[in-house]
Amino acid sequence: MPKHELILLKNMSQPGYSGSLADYEATGGYQALRATLGKTAPADVTTAVRKSGLRGRGGAGFPTGVKWGFLPKDYQGPRYLCCNADESEPGTFKDRQLMERDPHQMLEGIVLACYAIGAESAYIYIRGEMVLGSKILERAIGEARAAGYIGNNILGTGIHVDVWVHRGAGAYICGEETALLESLEGKRGLPRIKPPFPATHGLYNKPTVVNNVETLANLPHILTRGAEWFAAIGSPPKSTGTRVFCVSGHVKRPGNYEVPMGVTFRELVYEHAGGMRSDKPIKAFIPGGASAPFLTPDHLDVKLDFESVAAAGSMLGSGGVTVMEEGTSMVWAALRLMEFFYHESCGKCSPCREGSSWLVQTMRRIMAKRGRMEDLETLLDLCKNIAGRTVCAFGDAEVAPIQSTLKYWRDEYVSLIREAEAADLIMPEAAGVRH
């Protein structure tokens, strides 16, 4: 039995649970919808979500109820809800499980969110590679529509909500909410300059809310069991509820584990994920997806909540925890992530577009034992000139692996460079042709 009460993964952890409408209804599914639509005022739904303390599960951790509150109250035209199912942060694979194993849980959340913000159309922007997930969602939407939970005049309340699945096409940046909107409009996924924010000028320039799959999946539970119940779970007052953490890397049992926020990394890695896969001790871990700075074994007792991880110098981000054992080259690990960011930079802002290329080239040079000591300063200088100088947070994310590995494992960079220098003593003629 799991040590902690499961909320989001509860249904799918029952033997034989298929994720069909009948299965979902048998576990009390769509009761929140029945109890809320037409019975609780939309503004009260928003208030309940705000009181619950629910924060976005996509990465930024913005309070969901507050986000909804930014929509203009007096606006008469259409509003939109976009479900961000573009799960692309390396190390993160929870939304895929939530969508494929219990699609109705998130669909109920979507309809509730639409009701709260007054949207009649919702688009699920799912990453293009997840063909199976999009098929499962489309089937579930069909079931829900036939049962009157989605569509016109839901359960006779006069409320309309339509939901469509929109497949992205394999661009990491489209997980950024304004890039997602651009992509959904049929354009290249380039993030927009903010402000204006999507709350006022979102999809088709209309008021829009973009929420992550896991965020939306929490809504039926909050409305059924109450904001106070939810607010007491985890690490109140700022990090409430559970999170589905994705553990990957050198552990015995990688996978998704739902635990209340506030448990320690030590518990997650050693109890839930079974500890290290071999006898080697842990060397490093990434606490919240590829965009989060690396942490060391000294940080194992840090609590998994937004504030504690931030205080430790990293971020809880998307909940992707990647563990590396002793013997893993940190320069190599940082280079792998840097190659990812280089590949995924959308090209809109020069510091990120050019900088990611320079960072990869410099890192490759060091890794190939052709680096020079001044490369370390070059790396830090480049990082400093990318972070905070781009339209979206990608710039801050891409420098995290290099900055953090240089902070904690500078000696590994230095020893690779020393090897390069030693080689130069033997072959002085090679010194001039190191590029």
Partner: protein
């Protein structure tokens, strides 16, 4: 394309208040037809959505799932990001290269397989993994790859492909160790 898929095209366009939103879904339809997006298809889609051909082309070039060149019958995309690399994806990619005799970016002469090394596909808990056409294959080993390649050659599909994702499986479910 228009004659063959008229119903699908109309349905796709009807989902959005602004026609251009239908662009990526229609490009998928075109790719389904030929395995890649042809120039003729791009022109046709531009006409359907009242866009200029460059507006369609600039969108296609942004997205990695859309191919502008023909690919083999089976497009093998092996994840090379850090999380898969920690679980041995480099060795696995080497194995596939040897088995197929091609490097990433190349296709086998018979046109059956195209190999690509790609970035994270959101299966880090079941690494190493690859995607072949629409299907995910996870917790790969050399033996599994051999079986998948054999299955694809003989029947065009493999029962090793992933179903609805959940890992770890519930405690009382049957668990196969990767």
């Amino acid at each position: 394309m228009k004659e063959k898929y008229q119903k699908e095209i109309d349905e796709i366009i009807s989902r959005y208040p602004v026609k251009r939103s239908a662009l990526i879904p229609l490009l998928y339809l075109a790719q389904q037809e030929h395995g890649y997006v042809t120039e003729a298809a791009m022109k046709e889609i531009a006409q359907l959505l009242r866009l200029t051909p460059p507006q369609v082309y600039e969108t296609v070039t942004f997205y990695t799932v859309l191919n502008l060149k023909p690919v083999g019958k089976f497009h093998m995309q092996v994840c090379k990001s850090l999380m898969c690399a920690l679980a041995g994806s480099d060795t696995l990619l080497g194995w596939i290269k040897t088995k197929l005799g091609i490097a990433p970016g190349e296709s086998t002469p018979d046109g059956l397989f195209t190999l690509s090394a790609v970035e994270c596909l959101a299966s880090c808990g079941t690494a190493p993994m690859m995607q072949i056409n629409d299907d995910y294959y996870e917790q790969l080993t050399e033996a599994k790859v051999d079986k998948i390649l054999g299955d694809l050659k003989t029947s065009g599909t493999s029962d090793l492909k992933s179903g609805p994702y959940m890992w770890p499986l519930p405690v009382n479910a049957v668990r196969h160790e990767g």
